[in-house]
């Protein structure tokens, strides 16, 4: 267990030393918050069902952070660790495989949580963020969404042969997804046809779930999202268990 915690600590340090990953997970959401916050403020408006622009954006940006972590950080890190033989080197020690992968999952989860925490704190202090939901429910939905997207990341890392292709494919999936799902821009601004199409994107359901629970909607209104994300998680684990390669 000592090795597992050391590895987790080391991976945390390495994550924070990697400027791109740290920027997109921790700093970029704050930049978005301040950019759109300074333009639109956070006055309640009927357009957002009586909430302000910041109130609906914070859960959406949280979804964006989850997608960044699962699709980009985790996929690229795992693919490059495999390509460079780092996974193999770790496997040549008495460490168990679940400890090696578990450390990655914990670090990426902690960083995602930190990204969300920074966002919520900044929005609360600067824009008086409103929250009408149950914190534990939102946290549970956050954990489910994270795990689903991490599973997706492991699937991609398993299927794509090199770090380079993993990066390209992850980007191609990531960018349309954050725009069309309403994670980056409020979906109320998107045409109805695009909103319909966006239902095929897993991230859309993360945005819907987090925004709904954020303003206090009950779980029973979101069983569809929970079902889809749970299915994604289970299928992701099943596929990656078969396709994930150590070398």
């Amino acid at each position: 267990m000592r090795g597992f915690w050391k590895l987790t600590l080391m991976e945390t340090k390495l994550f924070l030393r990697e400027p791109m990953a740290a920027f997109f997970t921790l700093a970029f959401p704050l930049m978005m918050l301040f950019l759109f916050g300074s333009i639109y403020g956070n006055k309640p408006t009927p357009f957002f069902g009586g909430y302000g622009s910041v109130d609906v954006s914070v859960p959406a940006y949280t979804a964006m952070i989850i997608a960044t972590s699962g699709l980009l950080s985790l996929t690229i890190a795992m693919a490059s660790y495999r390509e460079h033989g780092i996974l193999r080197r770790l496997k040549a020690t008495p460490l168990r495989p679940q400890a090696i992968l578990g450390a990655q999952v914990i670090v990426i989860f902690l960083m995602t949580t930190l990204g969300m925490a920074l966002l919520v704190i900044a929005a609360k202090i600067v824009y008086g963020l409103r929250f009408a939901g149950d914190p534990l429910s939102v946290l549970a939905a956050f954990v489910l969404s994270c795990l689903s997207f991490f599973a997706l990341g492991f699937v991609l890392a398993g299927l794509l042969p090199t770090a380079r292709t993993a990066q390209i494919v992850a980007m191609v999936l990531f960018y349309p997804m954050i725009f069309l799902s309403g994670a980056m821009l409020p979906r109320e601004l998107l045409p109805e046809s695009i909103q319909k199409f966006a239902q095929v994107l897993p991230l859309t359901h993360v945005v819907t779930l987090l925004r709904g629970l954020w303003i206090g909607e009950p779980w029973r209104d979101h069983l569809g999202e929970v079902g889809i994300l749970s299915a994604l998680l289970i299928i992701g684990i099943l596929i990656s268990a078969r396709t994930f390669r150590w070398e």
């Binding site: 000592r2 090795g3 050391k6 590895l7 080391m10 340090k13 390495l14 030393r17 990697e18 660790y81 460079h84 033989g85 780092i86 193999r88 080197r89 496997k91 040549a92 020690t93 008495p94 460490l95 168990r96």
Partner: protein, 306 residues
Amino acid sequence: MSQKPIVQVEHLRKVYGSTVAVDDVSFEVYQGEIFGMVGPNGAGKTTTVECIEGLRQPDGGHIRVLGLDPHHDGYALRARIGIQLQESVLQDRMKVWEALDLFASFYPRSVDWEPLLEQLGLAEKRNTPFAKLSGGQKQRLFIALALVHDPEIVFLDELTTGLDPQARRAMWDLVRQIRGRGKTVFLTTHFMEEAERLCDRVAIMDRGRIIALDTPENLIRMLGVENRVVFTVDGAFELERLSKLSDVTRVETIGERVIVYGRGDGLVGEVVNALTTSGTRFRDLRTEQPNLEDVFLALTGREMRD
């Protein structure tokens, strides 16, 4: 050297698709020796080593390392063996001391790694990220990582590939030091010279099979490969006079160049003596000892390619 086998391999076989990477390989490694596996790239050396380390599952045969089955007792075994993988890297931004601290934590028992840094000449680099190390420094770090848990046997796979000759020689000294601390060393290399200089016993591998296994001296002697004396003559030269010498087996001339083949330690003395007494004027005389390259050539009919 005690003759206690620390690694036992019997009829090892490993197949990748339709390629037989390792074909019926059997050998033993004894405690306290430097055992070398040498052969061209693709001969099956790395596959053999990785089966012994428990990183690959053999398709056939039987392996025991320190009395353990590498496949079934992999975790227990890896706590007792040191591994340096071929062409491995660490995370670019991981510092030297962090790598040692991290890898030490993976083992139930580990040594104080500070002296290890000193011994491997990495003390000044302790805060340097992996990506900023030179090739030789990276390899020394990997040796340190392979030693951090005080293993009984260390596996070094293509340790000196990609290093310049100076760094390679420094690496040889390090390997001798590791053995000096009572550890068994198993190394693979495609440099015949490295195997010859460094190893107590050498297994020559080609196309998935071991084609010879003995001390470098015995391998060279067993094959009866001849020593050569090469020189250039000015003017007249009596070939017969040299052919009749007792240690000489044959004489070849290529223009002014003369190559005398023969056996025995007295060959050079005999040749020089005969040339002097006959008053033959010669220059550029040198001797060429047979080496493992010649052994490989004699066994396979092919040159070792780099």
